[in-house]
């Protein structure tokens, strides 16, 4: 019963957050100065033409009506059509989805184990903890663009091992040309590893201070066994949460990496739509990304309940104080 209630709370919380995010996206794309009709008709359109275009796209209605109408169509799966090429937004998204999924899933598969290892390393040192935290802090401050550029300069430039751009053949699956994925996956995954390890280190430090862990250390348990038996099983809940939060960051990070390497995923679709002021596409991609982020957090909450049904999911996410930008 408590578990059921905890599930329902978690779901309600995720839905509420999604609603809040939708309001943010709407305000940012619809209410800030400058509108799509004006931008679209900027090349020599008369005032009347702009007004007609506004009426046609419904932009002359009050904001709250437009918001509820937009929410309604989102909820029923109607994503609208692109302002630039009049293609359905859903088509554009489903076309880019496989490439993005491949990138994010591979990056997560790569990052997950490393988060655990480096998180344990950073959190467990008793005397060297300060230095280790400093290393993680310093690395976490490196902007992702820097990492991507340095990797590219090294492997594509100086060494010449990998292609500098990852353009996929039209209609080809990204998995058919795995060497094109190496640089994008590394550039997305490595900042996530540092970010996630920084988050996890706190939980590790708490775990190694628990009585059973202290005892085990005093008994002289070998390090590997100590972590495998006495630390990692207690990290399931925090790890799920960290991976969920990091996965949210991955999607935003993918925009930079996809643009830099010319990789045709959802991130580069978002970037081109933003520069073309293609509001429906921006809204749909942003909401899809937000839904994945919140879905991940929900999943982490569910795992927390399953791991310890007595305790309801804690609503507070601890964000690292030194960060803020998810990679």
């Amino acid at each position: 019963m408590t578990a059921l209630r905890a599930f329902l709370t978690a779901i309600a919380r995720a839905l509420l957050l999604l609603l809040a995010v939708s309001a943010m996206v709407f305000v940012a794309t619809e209410l800030l100065p400058g509108d799509a009709a004006g931008a679209r008709a900027s090349n020599g359109a008369t005032v009347e033409q702009v007004a007609a275009l506004r009426a046609e796209t419904g932009q002359d209605r009050p904001a709250w009506q437009r918001y509820t109408a937009w929410l309604g169509s989102l909820a029923t799966g109607r994503l609208g059509t692109s302002l630039v090429n009049d293609r359905p937004v859903a088509d554009a998204i489903s076309q880019r989805l496989p490439a993005s999924t491949a990138l994010v899933v591979l990056a997560l598969a790569f990052a997950g184990p490393l988060i655990l290892v480096i998180g344990c390393w950073a959190g467990a040192g008793s005397r060297t903890r300060g230095t280790r935290t400093a290393v993680v802090t310093g690395l976490a401050a490196v902007p992702q663009v820097v990492l991507a550029a340095v990797l590219s300069a090294l492997f594509a430039g100086a060494l010449g091992w990998l292609p500098p751009v990852s353009l996929l053949p039209p209609g080809g699956s990204p998995l058919e040309s795995p060497h094109l994925l190496i640089l994008p996956v590394l550039s997305v995954a490595l900042p996530t590893v540092v970010f996630g390890a920084g988050l996890l280190a706190g939980a590790v430090a708490d775990t190694v201070r628990r009585p059973h862990a202290v005892d085990s250390r005093l008994r002289g348990t070998p390090t590997v066994l100590f972590f495998a038996r006495d630390v990692v099983p207690f990290l399931l809940t925090p790890l799920a949460r960290v991976v969920a939060i990091s996965a949210g960051g991955l999607i935003a990070a993918a925009t930079v990496v996809e643009t830099l390497f010319g990789y045709p995923g959802l991130g580069s679709l978002l970037v081109t739509s933003v520069s073309a002021r293609d509001t429906p596409v921006v809204q749909a991609v942003a909401m899809a990304a937000a839904a994945v982020v919140l879905g991940g957090l929900l999943l982490a909450d569910v795992i927390a309940v399953l791991a310890d049904p007595r305790r309801a999911p804690r609503p507070k996410r601890r964000a690292p104080r030194y960060l803020g930008v998810q990679p």
Binding site: V25, T137, L260, L323, G324
Partner: protein, 258 residues
């Protein structure tokens, strides 16, 4: 002492970045040698696609990023400190509402927010919006925690007993006691602002060509990475050094203050 040293170093670092243009040996915006020329003694980092000297562009290239990031970090800090003071001082419902709102903003990746805001706003304004939305909640948390501790100290209780108004106590008693913490936190917000500004610049929403700008250089020079890797590596290293140094100093100060 270390705090003074850290502050001086941060100011010097930012100062050099702002004034770097004067130290550039060549014009950062006009061609001086062959396109993608490899590093030589005259051009230690070679040239870019138009034959412009990469070293001169790197030296001059941090200015626009820093000038975008500073107001963004200040805005985030002001909003966060105000919110944190209110939440920590008022407690109860105000606290719950403010930290709840902060949590909502923290759930959205800052870069996603920056991009969505860039649909309508110019790049630098989008950096400010995203830094405030992504950074202020963290500042709010830190300041709130500090205020809840300070409000039970003797001098604050003394001021309350004297019958001073809340705003006066917060400005005259509480805020000065947290100046180190707030300063260190500002450094961390600057790191976030630089990260967002660099990402937006790379995506084409920042400085316009032919301006020398680290993010823009990464965007432009990526096509020639096989010809002159230094043209990509140099601005990246400069940006990375800047953010890492700022973060380490801010982090060590924040630890000592807490």
């Amino acid at each position: 002492m270390t705090r003074v040293l850290g502050t001086v170093l941060a100011v010097v670092l930012i100062g050099f970045t702002l004034l770097g243009e004067w130290a550039a040996p060549y014009s950062p915006t006009s061609p001086v040698t062959a396109a993608w020329a490899a590093p030589t003694t005259a051009h230690p980092l070679g040239a870019d696609a138009l034959g412009r000297d990469v070293w001169s562009r790197v030296v001059a290239g941090g200015r626009s990023l820093v000038l975008t990031a500073i107001p963004a970090a200040l805005a985030a800090s002001v909003v966060g400190v105000a919110g944190g003071l209110a939440a920590g001082w008022a407690g109860r419902r105000t606290d719950r509402i403010l930290t709840g709102v902060a949590d909502v903003f923290l759930a959205v990746p800052s870069l996603l927010l920056a991009l969505v805001a860039a649909t309508r706003l110019p790049g630098s304004a989008a950096v400010i919006v995203a830094t405030v939305c992504g950074g202020a909640p963290l500042t709010l948390r830190v300041v709130r925690d500090a205020v809840t501790q300070i409000r039970h100290t003797g001098y604050v209780i003394a001021a309350r007993t004297r019958g001073e108004r809340s705003v006066a106590i917060l400005v005259r008693e509480v805020l000065p006691a947290m100046s180190g913490l707030v300063g260190a936190d500002l450094g961390l917000r600057l790191v976030i602002a630089l990260q967002i500004a660099a990402a937006l610049g790379l995506l084409g929403f920042g400085a316009a060509p032919p301006a020398p700008d680290w993010a823009l250089m990464l965007r432009e020079n990526m096509t020639g990475v096989a010809l002159n890797p230094a043209a990509v590596a140099a601005p990246a290293v400069a940006l990375g050094l800047m953010t890492t140094t700022l973060a380490l100093f801010a982090q060590s100060t924040a630890h000592r203050e807490r």
